[in-house]
Symmetry: C2
Subunit: 592 residues, 2 copies
């Protein structure tokens, strides 16, 4: 069975050396010293390894079921969720006035990495709740906040998000779920939602559904969508639980992966709901949750890849097969461990360099989110908004590739379920789809984010990359390895941006035919930036002779591997963009 | 539920226009006119759509089980196999003296494409038998051939290949299964084999296992491996079935996909076996089967991708979501079909251009195999041997990507098992692993095939590409689109080959660290060649005005899409190769 060990050394490096978080000018970050982060994350790592990881395959095999109208989760899940609840892991970064502990989001991300690597299907129950908490916190009335948030903070009550319907996912304007106003100011919600993660179960006393629905007579399409709080059990005025609301899980979906999570069709049959935020402004309220979820979904990509990588490495060290081409490395054994073979090493380094870059990327995004919520920095908001679709899609696309590559290391055993590698691939697969399919992320990036606020944030992004490239070009040890290639990648980005501007105006299809390529170009460039920060820190540590030279030397090799073999993909994506839309747009629909 | 329709128009184009098979100078090919191939493949397509495809999901859901020592296959599989048997589909290309119909292998490939797209797990039962048939035909005594082949030709008896053991897959020299010589000239086979596809079932009267084992006292390692025929039921002298042999399925594996195929652990407990071919020459005899199986496995990649693509297109035409960016395409409906969106079209064209190129590649390989078996052409043998690992690994790698991309088109529905897209991904995944994992194919290519016979076949390959590129550079309509880019790809191939020669001699790791990149470079270049042949034929047909202009116009667009967006990957792979082995070889095993 696969195991998982939290990569605490690398997490520590990312926090304190690559990103130097305690020196970042963000209120609260001054406390994020190694003295604080170290013990917290060590404990998170222990729970991940000892409590969550052993239940990962259990969740895959047992799945969820609907028995007598109640959703059964896999054995052990309720107890494990209790461990998270009792350790305060569900509320690390939530507001202290509403049951939280007030730490930066970054601590939630770093601890969450460990949990997600260990058992993503389980983590989702709390993850959705966390998103719902933030949405109510941002848009709820004081009364709503007091009623729901303290109990949701520790998952005494869980939360969900209900967007998709059978006839609409991306295009929520087609929504049919309705919300009839009642005399008491509440609404009656009627309709069917599908693909609702953690939609129903018995692990908490209540489930607070956030539901998008249309108030009859409102504006057409997406502008007539409002957001509602629909509790599974209604809450009495004294905060005790009242009657069962008319919302039920109609069926559970049989999915390719994340079997441990209950993916429900939810039927609302005149359920009582309460408006959250303004009428007809449901989409923008829901986007509080969606944006957080997109960073989390991107993280799922590299987190599951990390777990898959660890198990591929363990297998490659143990499995004896053939001799090293340069002579036996294990002369007393019947063969050498396959980790001696160049192609095995090549694929492991591909996986590793992606994972380490994506970790910096994830934490960096979360720093921006902290900066936004703690300082109202419009620049950080713009930058985060620009890179969110990039991180979501790039990290899930590459995480899927990396997990597939890790599975491949095990050969035939990788295909057999009991080895657990198939589960990693099947579980990470959903990250490319949910929270907006990756093609929709590319559309969001090219169609909306690139030109937002007159392209200001795109320019700021370029300035940020250029600043680091300039600095590293001056750094003798890193100029050829990192500085110049990063600048070359930036050049490809600028050429691609130019193509988009020059062609997208007269023919939007010209821009959109290259949208996924643009997203991946930017993904590689941002990874280059994150890994360049890492190289700079590692080089400085080596020069300072602070010890742990093996770690920093390996870090430089890992960065070099990415810069040699992956960053140059920016040029390939540029070529594809410049190839234009004709072969894409010319065929008749019937010709496909 | 997914459906499948045989792409008969494209198959016809590949056979008669791109490859012009009836004009190829191969005995028997003169009969392969459209009059013959058309009706045969039309019938194959009908069986694929109506008999095999409806059982594809049944096989996935029911899987196989071991009940009272007998392997149960999914409902409907025995009857469907009967349809194939009675239609003579299992013996199309087998020798007429031993129960076959004597057609070229190419007809087996083209019909097999339809069957494999429709239900690969089912097709494998006959596929393994076909390989075993060819191995006995090539290496058996006249008595062995008469005993086994006629009944195996129509799958009255099935066949299997038994190579892998718990401690060895790639490195068969570590094998422990033994073969003790008996006084009557037979052997007692003892050992355990794993991952045996179609290892046991009750669909035929007998199963003829081909088993690699070591005769005690023979040479060490791979040079001491011999091949044996081990029937499930011994065959009496009068060809009637005798006693049950001591070979049994010990367990069935639970796999990521191909659930309909029984993947068995086979226990040989002093089973009676008969030497096939020469003692200690088992590997070279088994390679008859392996080489055929590698082409078949490569084909699995594009065949399953074809089925996935068809269902993605169907969904994209039906699913209404958002409006085309240039204005409503379906103004009377609530939204436009998603096939209007550029990124959906881009991914469909990616899938399609791969599939159409791989089809030519597969058929071209099979033509070489026919040339070899019908003319003993050493050049064709060398060329086939060179490209076999390329086709196997490239088509399975890209087939997996294409199936994943097709699944993505369905968004959340793609992740739900009942839509069937997950099955395509899970089923095609094995093609990257079995018959030699793709990394082993790259090792075979770079370590063995490139330099075989003094590099003669590699040079012949280059001459072949150059010949076509030269000709198309002279073709005004195709010079920029196809001729020059093909020549540029060839240049990348030559530079990569030069790197391998110059560096591989002094440091084999330098060559092997780039082996997968070399394979993919050559994969793209060969795809370029195949699609260039297609473009040449399409252009000629358009100029001749023979009708069906829509088909040829679309064909040119598809080729152009690949040349614009995928063929340039040769440059990227070259860069990776030239980056050298340091980041791959320098890390300690402990540092991963």
């Amino acid at each position: 069975m696969p195991t998982y060990t939290a990569p605490l050394r690398d997490i520590d490096f990312v926090l304190h050396e690559a990103l130097k978080v305690s020196q970042a000018d963000i209120p609260g970050y001054e406390d994020l010293t190694p003295d604080l982060t170290g013990p917290v994350l060590e404990e998170a790592g222990k729970i991940a390894s000892n409590v969550l990881a052993p239940l990962n395959r259990v969740g895959d095999q047992e799945g969820t079921s609907l028995v007598d109208g109640k959703v059964q989760v896999p054995n052990g899940f309720p107890e494990a969720i209790n461990v998270l609840r009792e350790g305060g892991w569900t509320s690390l970064d939530l507001d202290v006035d509403y049951g939280g502990q007030g730490l930066p989001k970054l601590m939630h991300m770093a601890a969450g990495e460990c949990f997600s690597s260990a058992n993503h299907a389980m983590v989702m129950y709390g993850g959705l709740t966390h998103g719902a908490w933030n949405t109510i916190f941002a848009h709820g009335t004081e009364a709503q906040k007091h009623t729901y948030l303290p109990k949701m903070a520790n998952c005494e009550w869980f939360g969900t998000m209900n967007l998709t319907e059978p006839n609409c996912g991306t295009d929520l304007g087609l929504m049919r779920t309705s919300a009839e106003p009642q005399d008491d100011g509440s609404y009656k919600i009627t309709g069917t939602k599908i693909f609702i993660s953690a939609g129903d179960h018995e692990m908490g006393d209540n489930i607070i559904h956030l539901v998008l629905a249309k108030i009859p007579g409102g504006p057409e399409g997406i502008k007539g969508v409002s957001l509602f709080i629909v509790p599974k059990y209604l809450v009495n005025d004294d905060d005790s639980l009242g009657e069962r609301n008319a919302v039920r899980a109609g069926r559970l979906e049989t999915k390719m992966g994340i079997h441990g999570n209950a993916t429900c069709e939810m039927n609302f049959e005149g359920a009582t709901g309460y408006l959250l935020g303004q009428p007809n402004k449901g989409m923008s309220a829901m986007f509080t949750l969606v944006n957080e979820a997109r960073i989390g979904t991107g993280a799922q990509g590299y987190c599951i890849a990390e777990a898959a990588y660890q198990n591929a490495v363990a297998y490659a060290r143990e499995r004896l097969q053939m001799r090293a081409v340069t002579g036996p490395a294990n002369p007393d054994g019947p063969a050498d461990p396959i980790i001696v073979h160049p192609d095995i090493r090549r694929t492991l380094m591909d996986q590793r360099s992606f994972i380490e870059g994506a970790r910096v990327f994830a934490y960096w995004c979360t720093m921006q989110a902290d900066r936004v919520s703690r300082t109202d920095d419009a620049g950080a908001q713009g930058l985060l908004s620009l890179v969110t679709p990039v991180f979501k899609a790039f990290s899930s696309d590459k995480g899927y590739e990396a997990a597939t590559d890790a599975q491949q290391v095990l050969g035939g055993h990788g295909y057999i379920e009991e080895w657990g590698m198939s589960q990693f691939v099947r579980d990470v697969r959903i990250a490319k789809i949910y929270e907006g399919a990756n093609g929709v992320q590319a559309l969001d990036l090219v169609g909306r984010k690139l030109g937002a606020d007159g392209g200001k944030h795109t320019m700021a992004y370029g300035v940020m990359i250029k600043g680091l490239a300039d600095r590293l070009i001056q750094n003798e040890a890193l100029t050829d390895m990192v500085g110049k290639p990063l600048m070359a990648g930036l050049g490809d980005f600028q050429s691609a941006g130019q193509y988009m501007m020059q062609n997208g105006m007269k023919d939007p299809n010209a821009a959109l035919a290259g949208s996924t390529d643009f997203l991946h170009l930017m993904g590689h460039l941002t990874m280059g930036y994150m890994l360049a920060l890492s190289a700079e820190a590692a080089q400085a540590a080596l020069e300072a002779g602070t010890g742990d030279a093996a770690f920093y030397t390996q870090k430089l090799l890992t960065v070099r591997h990415y810069f040699n073999r992956h960053l140059p993909m920016t040029r390939m994506h540029l070529k594809r963009i410049q190839a234009g839309p004709e072969t894409v747009m010319a065929p008749d629909a019937a010709a496909f």
